[in-house]
Amino acid sequence: MGKVLFFAGGIHPENDGKYLTEKCSIQEPPLFSEYTVLLSQHIGAPAKPIVKKKDNILKGQKIAVAAGFISANIHAPTSGTVKDICNCPGPNGMPSPAIIIESDGEDSACEPMEPIKDWENAKPEELIKRIAEAGIVGMGGAAFPINVKLSPPKGKTIDKLILNGAECEPYLTADHRLMLESPETVIKGARLLKYILGTKRALFGIENNKKDAMNALREAQAYNDDIVIQNLQVHYPQGAEKQLIYALTGREVPNKGGLPLEVGCVVQNVGTAVAVYEAVVEGKSLYERITTVTGTPLVSPGNWKFRVGTPLSEVLRCAGGVKENPGKVILGGPMMGMAQHSLEVPISKNTSGVLLLSKDETSLFEGNPCISCGKCVDVCPMNLIPSVISLQVETEAFELAEEYNVGDCMECGSCSYVCPAKRPLVQYFKKAKSVIAINKRKSQ
């Protein structure tokens, strides 16, 4: 099995909640009557709608186009009519522009893009163009448009392709189930990405608690040496891009906004590999994704292949509803996810999980002054000094916080998790980042 790799810092929650759903195979949800497709499901500029109110559309039809270099196309999740294009509650609490589609119940698909079966002889540029057309974004959470990630600027060579199957976030099992249930597609997608980037090997990084998935992948790749499957220590945030690169290659991504390609690495989620394979070989655009719906208040938690735009209310209905009134509804995992105030918020391309926490599991507390214990410094995987930065933000010394590299914080939440004074550390850093960005825009 080789040695188990890891990185410095991070935490290990005792109860990672994976037991709730790791045995639940991926299910197909029924067709819903309405889908709210957000126009901003990715990092970058929101897509521009190309349909009008009352237009008839088909499943897989392009309904919004990328508006700029870092942006992505959006496709219809089902057939029906465009009910409205308006602002809807978005995952970040702000109203977000969305296309509301009323399903006609027939779910008739439009003509798929022409499959490129013989991709091994196609030009990589052609394949990247197809991936952009299909609107594929990173499915791990950040939702960065993949075509941008796959076309490194001139002069940069990529020698390591890393497939991220770590799924370090507690409670989530969507990637685990995907690797277990369709290992062939994952491997094929990895080979396709490897071909586009021109690397020798594709490295899979998988946490040690998913041995069954590792075995499935090893069998599916027929023990060829072009795919290396590496087991990693079960440790949060093992699946974060920079930590994964360090664990697998020993390379450190430079700070102050450095990108993995500066150390010759590209990291892709396993879900993305499957989406890329389907887009190229089957001509299918990205309008559905696997989402873990979990939490102790749910009657039957599990994994579903939801279409983009499915409102949370329907998602919870799929999981059999709730046994008790939940304390929190979180989009994503417990460490990095965002708590929601409305069940109208829809699933988007990067929603890896919907988590319900019971009232006992969510504690309401007031942040106390820092006691300088240094626990947060020990666990910060980016080697920042959360205690000091939080004090700087508290006193509104944002320039000082920038000097202390608050911009490198990836908001993994490890510091907030260990803080004995219950300080809302990540919120301080998020605030600092927003304020610094606003100040920069003003000074320009």
Binding site: N92, G93, M94, P95, A339, H341, S342, L364, F365, E366, G367, P424, Q427, Y428, K430, K431, S434
Partner: protein, 279 residues
């Protein structure tokens, strides 16, 4: 023993003489008016005048760089007293007070979600967009309370910021602190205010707040164009020509509220009017 006493006495005398000479030779002349004016200033160092504290302001006053009325905190009596010291005629202006242009408390604009984070309004806006249903209203987390150097603002039990006009000196610190720009400086003499800052149309407004301005224009008809202007679906008072307190009764959704402390006056006027109409 005697030697030591003698030595110390002589040393003390010598140093005393030295200090006496130094005070004469190195004396710095301070205009006595600076000290006198500084005593009349509030001494809160709020920075409302734009200078670094009250002593700087006093120096600038004596130097003739600023006017006594540039201090937003001084009462008209103080300003006249300063004028006397400086030997200039200081006309006291009408004082400005801060008003929170929102009346959507927890009852009228219910809380959307339970916010449990950094206790300050700007952080809440960054984290969740809104705490209450209305996206334009007061969050009630008290950034303005922390900013006020005069303890003039309180968060009421219903979860909304309230400025006490008798304590407010109009320094404008709270205006900067509010992330939603809800606080405005208005003349002290204004008897009523339109407490809403939401540009929403009536149906959307009614959904999120029971007392938000719906843009019905009733106040405009009642008070006339000189006193009220419409900014889209939001009525605004023209404070240079502020309407009388009776306007409060014209608003069907109770967005127009009397100035704090004038509720009794309004009651009397309303009753008197009723009696008159009854006749």
């Amino acid at each position: 023993m005697t030697g030591a006493i003698l030595f110390l006495t002589l040393l003390g005398l010598a140093l005393g003489v030295l200090i006496g000479i130094a005070t004469k030779v190195f004396a710095v002349y301070i205009d006595p008016r600076v000290e006198e004016t500084e005593d009349l200033l509030p001494g809160a160092n709020c920075g409302g005048c734009g200078l670094a504290g009250c002593s700087e302001f006093a120096k600038a006053l004596v130097a003739g760089k600023v006017e006594p009325t540039d201090c937003p905190v001084c009462s008209s009596d103080d300003i006249n007293a300063i004028g006397k010291v400086l030997g200039i005629k200081a006309l006291s202006e009408i004082k400005d007070v801060a008003v929170v242009m929102c009346c959507g408390d927890n009852e009228n604009s219910p809380e959307l979600s339970l916010y449990n984070g950094i206790n300050d309004c700007a952080s809440a806006v960054f984290a969740a967009g809104s705490v209450k249903a209305c996206r334009y209203g007061c969050l009630g987390l008290g950034s303005c309370v922390h900013a006020c150097p005069f303890n003039a603002i309180e968060i009421t039990e219903a979860g909304i910021a309230l400025v006490h006009p008798d304590l407010c000196v109009g320094c404008g610190k709270c205006v900067e602190a509010c992330p939603r720009d809800l606080i405005k400086l208005v003349p002290e003499t204004a008897e009523c205010h339109i407490l809403c800052s939401s540009p929403l149309k009536a149906p959307a407004q009614r959904k999120v707040c029971k007392t938000g301005c719906i843009g019905c224009r009733k106040c405009l008809k009642e008070a006339g164009k000189d006193s009220i202007e419409m900014d889209g679906f939001l009525a605004k008072i023209k404070y240079e020509n502020a309407p009388k307190i009776e306007l409060v009764n014209a608003c069907p959704v109770k967005t127009i509220k009397p100035k704090l402390g004038l509720e009794e006056k309004l009651k009397k006027i309303t009753e008197a009017k009723k009696v008159k109409e009854g006749k």
